[in-house]
Symmetry: D2
Subunit: 365 residues, 4 copies
Amino acid sequence: MAEKALAAIAMGAKQTDLREVDIPHLAPEAGLLKIEAVGVCGTDWSWYKGDLQEPQILGHHTVGHIAEIGKAASERWRVKEGDRVALEEYIPCGNCERCRAGEFRLCDFTDPWLGGIRYGATPITVPPSLWGGFSQYQYLHPNSVLHRVPDHVPAAEAALALPLSNGIEWVCLEGGQVVGSTVVIQGPGQQGLACVLAAMEAGAECVIVSGLSADVGRLELAERLGANHTVNIQSEDLKERVVESTGGKMADLVIDTASGGPCTVTSAIEVVRKRGTIILGGFKGQPIPEFFSDTLISKYLTVKGVRGHSYESVERALQIIASGKYLLDEMCTHQYALSEVDEALRTMGGEGAPEAIHTVVAPWQ
Amino acid sequence: MAEKALAAIAMGAKQTDLREVDIPHLAPEAGLLKIEAVGVCGTDWSWYKGDLQEPQILGHHTVGHIAEIGKAASERWRVKEGDRVALEEYIPCGNCERCRAGEFRLCDFTDPWLGGIRYGATPITVPPSLWGGFSQYQYLHPNSVLHRVPDHVPAAEAALALPLSNGIEWVCLEGGQVVGSTVVIQGPGQQGLACVLAAMEAGAECVIVSGLSADVGRLELAERLGANHTVNIQSEDLKERVVESTGGKMADLVIDTASGGPCTVTSAIEVVRKRGTIILGGFKGQPIPEFFSDTLISKYLTVKGVRGHSYESVERALQIIASGKYLLDEMCTHQYALSEVDEALRTMGGEGAPEAIHTVVAPWQ
Amino acid sequence: MAEKALAAIAMGAKQTDLREVDIPHLAPEAGLLKIEAVGVCGTDWSWYKGDLQEPQILGHHTVGHIAEIGKAASERWRVKEGDRVALEEYIPCGNCERCRAGEFRLCDFTDPWLGGIRYGATPITVPPSLWGGFSQYQYLHPNSVLHRVPDHVPAAEAALALPLSNGIEWVCLEGGQVVGSTVVIQGPGQQGLACVLAAMEAGAECVIVSGLSADVGRLELAERLGANHTVNIQSEDLKERVVESTGGKMADLVIDTASGGPCTVTSAIEVVRKRGTIILGGFKGQPIPEFFSDTLISKYLTVKGVRGHSYESVERALQIIASGKYLLDEMCTHQYALSEVDEALRTMGGEGAPEAIHTVVAPWQ
Amino acid sequence: MAEKALAAIAMGAKQTDLREVDIPHLAPEAGLLKIEAVGVCGTDWSWYKGDLQEPQILGHHTVGHIAEIGKAASERWRVKEGDRVALEEYIPCGNCERCRAGEFRLCDFTDPWLGGIRYGATPITVPPSLWGGFSQYQYLHPNSVLHRVPDHVPAAEAALALPLSNGIEWVCLEGGQVVGSTVVIQGPGQQGLACVLAAMEAGAECVIVSGLSADVGRLELAERLGANHTVNIQSEDLKERVVESTGGKMADLVIDTASGGPCTVTSAIEVVRKRGTIILGGFKGQPIPEFFSDTLISKYLTVKGVRGHSYESVERALQIIASGKYLLDEMCTHQYALSEVDEALRTMGGEGAPEAIHTVVAPWQ
């Protein structure tokens, strides 16, 4: 058994150190994951660029093999050493009203938004330190949520399970009946592209993706993945394009994954049809100027704030990935070694290699 | 058959004239209603105080008896002369996507918000002029939506059918599963009190109603009708009261019926629990300052803008009214003759008799 | 204007007569359709083979052009002479609780199951006789439900609008969230194949279609349309195939469109997973032997009886047809002239040309 | 700490022995409950009268105080020694698709219907034997599901939490929108009466309860609890009464809790209205003769098989019990000591004291 894990520890603003961390002795309810690939998430970048309070190992879109597992854990999770799994970022209490209702992502005691431990967001001072994916090994807490991953799936694609599950959750489970409808997706990043796939899966008749000039490559990829129209809102009018594409009927569903600024909330309300639905998934960090709640009433709109995914949506995401029916390898634009985690993070944050969509760290390569 | 109808015609800002209007010759698809009672609605006050473009007969919460009816109309509506009915304000096209989906209140061609004829909001220049309830007779357009009213129901209570149906629609049909939940209702006017009744019908465990100092009488009535707590937000902190009443769990559902200003949108977001629902039913006429869409995401909220009612909710409202199980006569605070329509309107608008809840005009008394 | 329409009138068991019928003078609320193509439905065969009480013109999957239209009808339907439309079979009252709720197919006064007029099922003794599609012209009753059809769609494919809308209604609107799920469709006729298309549209991961030896050609077409597996239940065990295809998880959704006998109700219960859904759309004409309601409880199943379509599902069906993304021309296996209606009906009933899927009568060819 | 628990062990058909059982040493994840009251369930009677394979302690509607608790269990469940709780019968795996979806009652590995341990249904040969409520102490397995119970609630009423939660689950969560509707409940036992309360909570306009001649006392209690009509189907025609009570509209929702025989499935289909819902909660142990699935189609019905309750419904049941707004003490008809468990069971099974509704065993009295 391994005794040490090499890990990239985020120490402060935009700096990680490669260090050896002791691998803990495992309780019967716990396990250890040998990491194969970890997708870099926008949240990692937020932490990395300055939100960090204490050193921690970032990375939480993790795929790997069970390296070691306690007897109770093996029975509970129904996995054994060598099995390949994708890990959710949540470590839910399992016992609160939200957990009992199947919404463990909103666990009253470990909701990421409220604090509490979770993968990729817990200081190394909390034993056994190995809470993140930018590492050779990751600790499997007894409350971990695991999903089986078929062997034939490339690791980098498997690491898309969580972002794609968000797309499934937001578009298919929260967005209602999509068959035959027009869906506008604002923001063509990893999350927005996942929504494109989800909308196509769910039978959208017309998918329109909007972004900025800096997103030109991402918008092109959106079209290759199957989007019907893309709009650079710095050179075109989104509303006009939606009017034109729908014969004036406007969008049935608008998904806002953009985090650039508040204007996409306003445009979402403009391009959605009467009785339509808006899903807000992108944090703005600032209030929305000139927000008229009256328009929600006059257009009889439903607006839902969403974040994260259910167990079911991760299962469905893995099914879609395993089916091979989409060009997911085109989304996997960048891959880095453990020693290159800083570059991987800067790439995701737009300060490294350009045109990144899905950036992966592969600790053993 | 009557040849003339005496009607109170709104001529301009805060002024009605009592005039005789010719009763039209009826097509086989149309009818004529002899009006028994008309509830005064906040919308009437909006028109009356200055939104009027052309003279029109206001009033659209109408109850009456069929005075005359064409053969085709009688077959279609399955009513005959002498039958007692309540009338919806909508005159839907019956043929658009919204009408075909059972949401005729959002009819793509006659949605009140978009224009198009409807009762209480159509100029007298559109033949046959008798489009409003402040009159002895009202024209029944072929596309009218009628509901049977049992004889034993007092006319003033029957005229509560539309406001109460809004309560049913917003709380029960839009608000989701209410059994055992805490419901906060902002604004204790006719609409807010209707929501109180609907919330109790639907099995709310705790109903909290908020209002202003000017609403003291209305808040007291809310308690007599069954609300568990009332809050004067000018002297008490709503959030503290909700924390206290729910042991910190906060409200499952918040209904905003207030039209006074934007602050109730902000407080709705404050007092609703994580994963809760907010129903917005009160127009503000101004933007919401410091509106953070991020809170919708972090609390995983659903916000719905709503207006009006479905056919089903009017039927259920009439059932509840007919059952006699609530003290609806206490809501019926003021009644006026046709010659007193100006006073009736000023009372609804807060410029006449104080403490009005449900104000009724009875044209034949 | 035409004064006579040539029509194939069903006179008694398996016999139609070609006769001229007077075209009526139209009221302002009515219209006249010049028929382009009419799909033959299983219901037509039921009438034709012996359920007929009085002579009538069969055929109700009608596509055509507006030949004549009254002023009121033109305003109401928003169509004019020359416009191309598909017609629903229903002639709903528009005023009952079901109609007002958007479920006019279950109209309390004209529900086909209860009697009342509808297209393709009304005797010629009811004026103006032209109630069916096997005719040059069809009367447009004021309560008709019309849908616009784009010019580029072949008429025979447009005549698939109603069967395909049933698929949309049953699979997508009644069947719940389909993305990523396994759907078993029993019966590979026109209706079952429509369900195959609907299941693929809605993102089913795996579609399994079952039929009899006589259905071999239909099962092959199901595969060409995109079904993952087909099962001839006379030579293979459906349950074993579902176990195998799903790794023992069984089907999330089972749609029974078969009308051959009661055994598909029993097999539906066998192949559905715990907490799954069964949609029953095929009449059996006999009780189900050994029906254990206890299995519904132990497997916690939902079983829905369904028939027909909503306005929305016809709109979505026409969108899918117009998109050209499925090989619908392969479904259009047979086309007949008005003089060949008997052969068209026998073909649909399995007594004429073999391997029929979608059989069309084109009255002007 | 106690070292022995006195327990009534079911040894074979209709026979229990009072014995001392060793109290186990507890792991940190486990606990021990000092039992206050246990409701006797129909399932207990089924086991007791002969379905028993091995000796076991029956009883699973348990209320008590935490006698001892491990550190990890205390943290996980957020309870401490002395806290009063109600226990669910399920001991779910917490990790399967059903558990992760909030439906742990259908846990793929411990679903009562499939086998696996659960309270009141696990042999004493499985350590530590104390799996049932007819005992002074009950073992709290790490996967137990607990609910806090306020001190002011009488123990016998608190022991109604599970049956009442079934009522909430079946009527409110599975039955859809109940406000203003007519609900027929077949079977006036403990489960049927729980449905009566749930229907009233949810705003049913009319509640009709049916039973047999032997149920006269139960039917009377149903009326005292608030049911509008009761029907003895051995002397009255249920369908006629429903026609009469609803003016021919028939029932919106029918709940079948009867286990006497298959006829209530047939009558449910007869008395439900078109587009209505039937909830099947009573096992029959035999097929339904002359079951016409065609009627499900012609009436466009939804039929759901249901069993058990969600976490949420138990919470709501406890809220309703704690509110004191129903005459629940009238439901608590019989109470027995631990030494009288045989009599308690025979009473529930209809072979002991007559007219039992809610029979309770209080081990320390």
